[in-house]
Amino acid sequence: MAASTTTDMITLTIDGKTATVPKDTLVIEAARQVGVMVPHFCYHPKLSPDANCRMCLVEIEKMPRLQTSCSTPVAEGMVVKSESSAQAQDARKSVLDFILANHPLDCPVCDQGGRCDLQDFSHEYTATTSRFNELKRVFQKEFFSPLIETQMNRCVQCLRCVRYCDQVMDVKALAPVGRGTLTEIKAFGTHELDCEFCGGCVQICPVGAITSRLSMYEFRPWMLKRTDSVCGFCGDGCQITFQTKNETLIEVNSTHGAGRNNGDLCARGYFGYHVSVHPDRLTTPLIREGSVFREVTWEEALELVAQRLSEIKTTHGPDAIGGLITGRCTNEDVYVFQKFMRGVIGTNRIDSSVRYGHLNGVHAMQRVQGTHRWTVNFEDVVSADVLLLVGTNITETNPITGLKVKEAVKRHGAKLITIETLEPAIGAISNIVNLSQHHLGVKPTAYGSAILGMLKGVIEQNGIDPDLQTMAPEYCKDITAHIQAISWSEIEEQTGLTSSLFEKAAKVFVQGLKAVILIGSGVLRTSGGFGMTVNLLDLLLMTGKLTKEGCGLAPLAEENNDQGTFEMGGIGAMLPGGKSLGDTEARNMFSQAWGRTVSDLPGSSLPQMIEEATNGNLKSLFIVGENPLASLPPSSGIHQALGNLEFLVCQELFMTETAQQAHVVLPACSYAEKDGTFTNTEGHIQPVRKAIEPVGESRPDWEVFSALSVGMDDPMEYLDVKEIGKEIRNLLPGMRTLGPAPLPAQPDSSAISRYVNSDYKRDLSARYQLPPRMSSGQGHVVLMVSQSLFHSGKFSLKAKGLMQIQSEGKLFLHPKDAVRLGFDEGDRIRVFNGLGEVYTKVAFRERTPEGVVVFPEHFDREIRRLLPYTVDPETQVPYCKLAEIQLGKIVAS
């Protein structure tokens, strides 16, 4: 609060203690700051005050009656009495008397018992006998949902859950129903709860009225051991607390004020934790014998792997071996893995799941602004006055970043521009475009055209930054010329939107003082993704926002440690710290530090490795946590490539499709069983802590690489994760900064200058032309395979809670399309194109535009056969999320 002057500060006394707080602070908060805890149920710092529980009544001098401290702002010279007021104490006692009158007092079977506000306050204020001698009102138990149970007899009607669901989540799934003492919290309407299942209502309930079914009756709160860690699903990097009892995972929650998520979670974070303790977890190393696997000891497995890798290296050279690691591993795992591949094996043939899309964002940022991280953080998103979302229903892919967007729009009045396929529609899952003031709804194949439309809008309104025009006149002129060569009618034809929509949105964008562009898989994982990302950076550059504080581009990381995997050298061509392999100085630095020569032969991307394996140059793959057979469509040639390998090692949690092809399978630990760090999408490095002992004989990934290096007579030994961290820190100063909030990266002016002076020319015409129109034939629709809120990759399919919400994939289409084609909800239909034909169930979604169908990628086992596969010429990112398809009824033969 550097800006606050004396006039903004207010001094008051609370129970005789002097508090000096900023103006507009609520009395209850001022009291907390001087150590006076005013009891309350309905107040919560995240929510607007409702003053309904009447528990926080205090006496304020010169005010006629008791006031609710949760709704009264402080005033100069105010004299507040809380604990020192007999009247207030008496009022609180009576409020508890009232609440307990109808309360079932079933604490012995209540999961909240031991951490319940009602219990605590009762203990503090109430006499042990009640004079309530009447009949208690009883609500019948009802089935609320598979995951959340309500026990309305315990409810204190504080409406925190209802307000949270509306104000924070923007979902509005809950409502108080009935009047007076018969008020109960229900789902709107007569159906069971159908919502985002963020678990927020469970977390925010001060009593045991709303509880999780996943952990029901399994614990008493005081038996739980708490371990603060980081969620292992998406790139948001939410701080979670594992609650364990005797090495069993009981539940996961997050505390208000904790982590980047401020205690908010999504369905994956709150209900997805069983993934670590699924019965299918691999518990012992396995060696293939013919068509079956034999359980072996770690010694035997490691010995075989070390021996075979050494043989292949000797016979065919180190580049006959490739490595592939998942972005779900910790930074330490990835670091040791790439060090093993580069140092011990001697190859740069390393790739990771960053390749699936996040790399487009990182490379574009490196190219234009010289950073491999965001130049903004979550705080900037919240305080932005203009947000542009491209190709992402952020709620589903990165729900917590989505909450920051919602906060910016709903609480701070930020303007939201969206270039998105999904249309505004009320549904069970909050649809970010519902909040959009300027929604540019385009087909998933037209994002590039819409981005050009935005740029054209900016240029036509003379929105180009004057400083940039002076600094890089040629750049401005070239881009303007290329943009002006594209006519509005062409853009209108491609996007189906009128030019005035682009002009209005562009105007809002230009006027924004703090503008953040958030991009998701719609851009990063579809054809032309790299070019589109660079064009969005052009948009920031042209409007003078690229280097402005609080402005920037934010590519959303899909997996929990995509960002860290890149930074730890999980891409063959990039050394740890985001340095290029071609950078001799950097390569020498690592060679020297590791005592092993880092080869200067360029690494290979996954698409290249597929090619190399197919033509026999790649003999062996070491795959850690990746499942390319399930991530890539058959059209990529991955089946044949893996079949060609002499030796395939998979280090995995589960027996995946890829692991089934392996010669050796090594059981690895999940994020709940190991220490380390994850780097979230903003570039914030956070500690992951071991909550339970490794399942079976599974081991942390880095331990396996270390053991293998010993087996290959080139030992890289570490005592523990801290030692790896120390090595990383020494090599990359500032890399492992742990703190409450990340400092955003600063744009590098030399990189920008290189870009605007020459580098932009390299692919200018390719980037500034409309994509060729897809020749949609009659009856063709666009299939978009995308992420669901309730799952993360194929990993979450092992989380029983999430499977209870969504256990199968359905093809979502607009009801009008369905009527046109004669489908009923739930029908099994035929989906086909030149690549094949599959059958699937259909479901209706108003938000899916006509002419587009959406299928959740997690269940794409069948439907991915229809996906064509292309590779980005610059970043080697494989594109396989869109297809032209046709739909038909299944004709009984």
Binding site: R54, F98, R179, G180
Partner: protein, 435 residues
């Protein structure tokens, strides 16, 4: 019997008066609006209403002109007027008559009010059960719109006022102004805590005036005949003008009576109302709707103005005077009202929500001869724990019947409890608490 000049009921009591626009215009309707648009500035209108001393006719009696003066003049966004036509106080039925029989009187008042406060949009939040009133008002709004009294560029003055009729959905609490605003916004009708007051943060968080039907109906007359004229009627200086009192209960001639503020209750009940129905002595009366504490025959000479009734320990409230004759059980009367309040408590504040069912069940037991000696103490304490500790005035309202009957007729409670102790009824006689 004294004869008083009627102001609000004058038109409708003319033979053949239908309340149509033509009838209203024949009775000099919309002349006040013409005058205002031609001759007056908004501030002058507010000043005139302040001069008149007109106080809110909904229940709280807040000076209308002062309320309008709270609306920020330089507010950039929209401002609103809401007409509170959710008349749901038991024993009150005056607004219904004003709306059904002379709707344009109130509409004219609304347009003038909108002019004064700078609102372009006004809503009539009408009680859902008033189907006929809703229909009549909708027709009247349509008529007035066609005639150019409502809509854009009213009478060529450039003033725009749109009026919408919005029926409620059957909740007593929606007559409370902030709950009304919530309901109008499409939310569950529950009161908001104050401050901020509707004058600055009302409908959709914009400056809003909420006025009762009768209050607004008075406006054209104040404009036509002057604030000073209005202030000369009634009991000066604080209770000016006439008021429509709704007389009901054990009287010979129940109905609406428009009289100057300040006549004694005795005059209303015995002279105008014709006295007690069966000529039994009067035992008790409620002076201002169900939320007002009971008064006794000792209070018959209290003047019917805001201050005098308050001095007597009750309130003039909504103007619903309900009379009870000797032989009425005051415990039963309190129970009957408590059933109403239990049913209507919205459930937002803990004391009211939980307290209403506790009070009701205790009263049911006492009335059902299941009372215990300590029950009276519990009732008194519960009432004390509810009143003044809730967001809205419902808390005070629901305990009023119990507190006042305990004050004046405590012996009736004691008798019932004594009998309960003596007779010990058989189990099947015990009333069962039902929702």
């Amino acid at each position: 019997m004294a004869q008083y000049e009627k102001i609000l009921l004058k038109n409708m009591e003319q033979p053949g008066y239908t309340g149509s626009l033509a009838d209203y215009e024949r009775a000099d309707g919309y002349q006040a609006l013409r005058h205002v648009l031609k001759e007056m500035q908004p501030d002058q209108v507010i000043e005139e209403v302040k001069t008149s001393g007109l106080r809110g006719r909904g229940g709280a009696g807040f000076p209308a002109g002062v309320k309008w003066g709270f609306i920020p003049k330089d507010h950039p966004g929209p401002k609103y007027l809401c007409c509170n036509a959710d008349e749901s106080e038991p024993g009150t039925f005056k607004d219904r008559q004003l709306m059904e029989r002379d709707p344009h009187q109130m509409l004219e008042g609304m347009v003038i009010t909108c002019f004064a406060i700078g609102a372009q949009t006004a809503y009539i939040y009408i009680r859902g059960e008033f189907r006929l009133g809703t229909k009549i008002l909708e027709q009247a709004v349509q008529e007035a719109r066609t005639a150019g009294y409502i809509g854009e560029n009213i009478l060529g003055s450039g003033l725009t006022v749109n009026i919408y009729v919005h029926p409620g959905a059957g909740a007593y609490i929606c007559g409370e102004e902030t709950a009304l605003l919530e309901s109008l916004e499409g939310k569950r009708g529950m009161p908001r805590f104050k401050p901020p007051f509707p004058a600055t943060h009302g409908l959709y968080q914009m400056p809003t005036v909420v006025n009762n039907v009768e209050t607004l109906a008075n406006i054209p007359h104040i404009i036509n005949r002057g604030g000073a004229w209005f202030a000369s009627i009634g009991s000066q200086p604080k209770s000016c003008g006439t008021r429509i009192f709704c007389l009901s209960g054990h009287v010979k001639r129940p109905g609406n009576y428009e009289v100057p503020l300040g006549i004694p209750f005795r005059e209303l009940i015995y002279d105008l109302g014709g006295g007690m129905r069966s000529d039994k002595p009067l035992k008790a009366f409620i002076p201002g709707g169900a939320s007002a504490p009971f008064l006794t025959p000792d209070h018959l000479d209290v003047k019917m103005d805001f201050e005098s009734v308050a001095m007597a320990g009750s309130m003039l409230g909504s103007g619903g005077v309900t009379v009870m004759e000797e032989g009425t059980s005051m415990v039963w009367a309190a129970l009957r009202l408590m059933e109403f309040f239990y049913h209507e408590s919205c459930g937002k504040c803990t004391p009211c929500r939980e307290g209403s069912s506790w009070l009701l069940q205790t009263l049911q037991r006492i009335w059902g001869k299941q009372g215990r000696p300590e029950d009276i103490g519990i009732l008194e304490e519960l009432c004390g724990n509810i009143a003044g500790r809730t967001i809205c005035a419902f808390g005070e309202a629901e305990v009023a019947p119990i507190q006042s009957t305990l004050r004046h007729w405590r012996d009736e409670y004691e008798t019932l409890i004594r009998e309960a102790q003596a007779t010990r009824p058989r189990k099947k006689d015990i009333p069962v608490f039902t929702h």
